[in-house]
C-alpha cells in the first residue's frame, strides 16, 4: 500500500467521519444547557447522602466505584507491561551509570532542592483531602511521583534509586491495586454488595468523612505513585550502559 493510496483513504474516511460527527453534534443540546438528570441528582443529594463535599470524588470512589477499579487496573497493567517489555538481560552488577546527559545545572538543582519537600507534602495533602476539595488519589499520586523524580532532575539519580528502589515502587503499585480490591471485599464482609460504603460516614467537612472513600483515595494515590515511579525507573535503567555495548 503506497503512501498516496494511504492518504487518499485517509481523506475519504476522515471527511466522512467528520461530516457525520458534525451532523451528530448538531443534535446535541446547545452548550450550557445540560439536560441529563443523573448529574443534577448527584449534585443535589450527594452531600446529604455521603457526607462529602467533592461530588466528583463521590462519583469516582462511591457511586461509580466499580468503573474506577477498571481504570485503576488499566494503569496497573500498563505499568506492568512497561516493566516486562523493558526487562534487561545480563548481570546488573556490571552496569554503569550514564554520564553527561543527566547532569544538572545550578539553576535546575536549586529549584529541584527547594521544590522537593513542599511538592511531596502537597501531593499527600491532595490525596488525603480528595473527598473534601478538588483532588483525589489520581492527581495526588502524580504530584507525589513528580516530587520523587525531582531528585533525579537535581542530578542525583543514584540517590533517587536508593530512596525509591524498583522493588519499593513495585510494592506500592501492587499494594494500591490490591488495597482497592480489599476495600471492595470489605464491603462484602460487611454484609452489603461489593464496594459498598460500609465504614461510618462521619461529619461533612471532616477528614474522616465519606467512609471508604478516604481509604480508596489513599490506595489509588499509592498505586499511581508506584506505577509512575516504576515506569520512570525502567526507562532510566535503559539509559545505563552494559559492558557488551561498550565493547
Amino acid at each position: 500500500m503506497t503512501q498516496r493510496l494511504r492518504l487518499v483513504l485517509l481523506g475519504t474516511g476522515l471527511s466522512t467521519l467528520l461530516g457525520l460527527l458534525l451532523w451528530g453534534l448538531h443534535g446535541v443540546p446547545p452548550f450550557g444547557h445540560y439536560r441529563g438528570p443523573y448529574g443534577q441528582l448527584v449534585d443535589t443529594v450527594g452531600e446529604r447522602e455521603r457526607h462529602v463535599t467533592n461530588m466528583v470524588s463521590a462519583v469516582n470512589f462511591d457511586y461509580r466505584g466499580f468503573d474506577t477499579i477498571g481504570e485503576e487496573f488499566i494503569l496497573f497493567v500498563a505499568g506492568a507491561g512497561c516493566a516486562v517489555v523493558l526487562r534487561r538481560q545480563g548481570d546488573p552488577a556490571e552496569r554503569t551509570e550514564p554520564s553527561g546527559p543527566l547532569g544538572a545545572t545550578e539553576a535546575t538543582r536549586t529549584v529541584a532542592l527547594l521544590g522537593m519537600a513542599p511538592l511531596a507534602v502537597f501531593g499527600i495533602y491532595v490525596v488525603a483531602h480528595g473527598h473534601l476539595t478538588p483532588g483525589g488519589g489520581f492527581q495526588g499520586g502524580c504530584i507525589t511521583a513528580s516530587a520523587v523524580v525531582l531528585v533525579c532532575l537535581a542530578g542525583r539519580c543514584r540517590t533517587m534509586r536508593r530512596i525509591v528502589p524498583e522493588t519499593l515502587a513495585d510494592l506500592w503499585d501492587s499494594a494500591g491495586a490490591g488495597g482497592y480490591v480489599l476495600v471492595g471485599l470489605g464491603g462484602l464482609a460487611g454484609g452489603a454488595a461489593f464496594l459498598s460504603n460500609v465504614l461510618p460516614l462521619g461529619t461533612t467537612g471532616h477528614l474522616t468523612s465519606g467512609g471508604t472513600m478516604a481509604v480508596i483515595s489513599l490506595a489509588i494515590g499509592l498505586e499511581v505513585t508506584g506505577a509512575l515511579l516504576l515506569i520512570v525507573t525502567e526507562f532510566l535503567n535503559q539509559l545505563q550502559r552494559t559492558p557488551q555495548e561498550d565493547a
Binding site: L10, L14, F31, N60, T68, F138, E234
Partner: protein, 114 residues
C-alpha cells in the same frame, strides 16, 4: 457561538489523526495520539457544562447552588491519568522497535517486516 466547543473537539480529533497517519517518527506519532485523545476530554466537559454554574465542590458554598455535571468530570480525570500510562507503554514498544530494527520511521518498519 454555542457550537464552538464541539467544533474544536472535532478539529483536534481530525488534526491528531492526520498527524498520526503522516508521521515520520514513531514518537511523533505517539504525541499526535495524545492530542487525539484530548479531543474527547473537551467534548465530554462541553456536554456536561451548565451556563453560569459553579464547580461541583460544595466545601464553602451551600449544597443547593447550581453546579455542573460531576459524572463527566469523574470520567475525564481518571482518563487523563490512564492516558499517561498507556502512552508510556506505547513508548516502550517504540523503544524496543528502535532497538530491534534500528529505525523509528513507521514506513521503514513496515518494509523490514516483509
Amino acid at each position: 457561538m454555542d457550537f464552538l466547543p464541539y467544533v474544536v473537539s472535532a478539529w483536534l480529533f481530525g488534526v491528531g489523526v492526520v498527524a498520526m497517519v503522516t508521521a515520520r517518527n514513531l514518537i511523533s506519532l505517539i504525541m499526535a495520539l495524545v492530542v487525539t485523545q484530548s479531543s474527547t476530554y473537551v467534548l465530554l466537559l462541553a456536554i456536561g457544562y451548565v451556563t453560569g454554574a459553579a464547580p461541583p465542590i460544595f466545601a464553602s458554598v451551600p449544597s443547593s447552588t447550581p453546579a455542573v455535571d460531576p459524572v463527566v468530570q469523574a470520567l475525564t480525570l481518571t482518563d487523563i491519568v490512564v492516558e499517561a500510562t498507556v502512552t508510556a507503554l506505547l513508548l516502550t514498544f517504540a523503544v524496543r522497535a528502535h532497538q530491534r530494527f534500528g529505525t523509528l520511521d513507521p514506513r521503514e518498519l513496515r518494509a523490514l517486516r516483509d
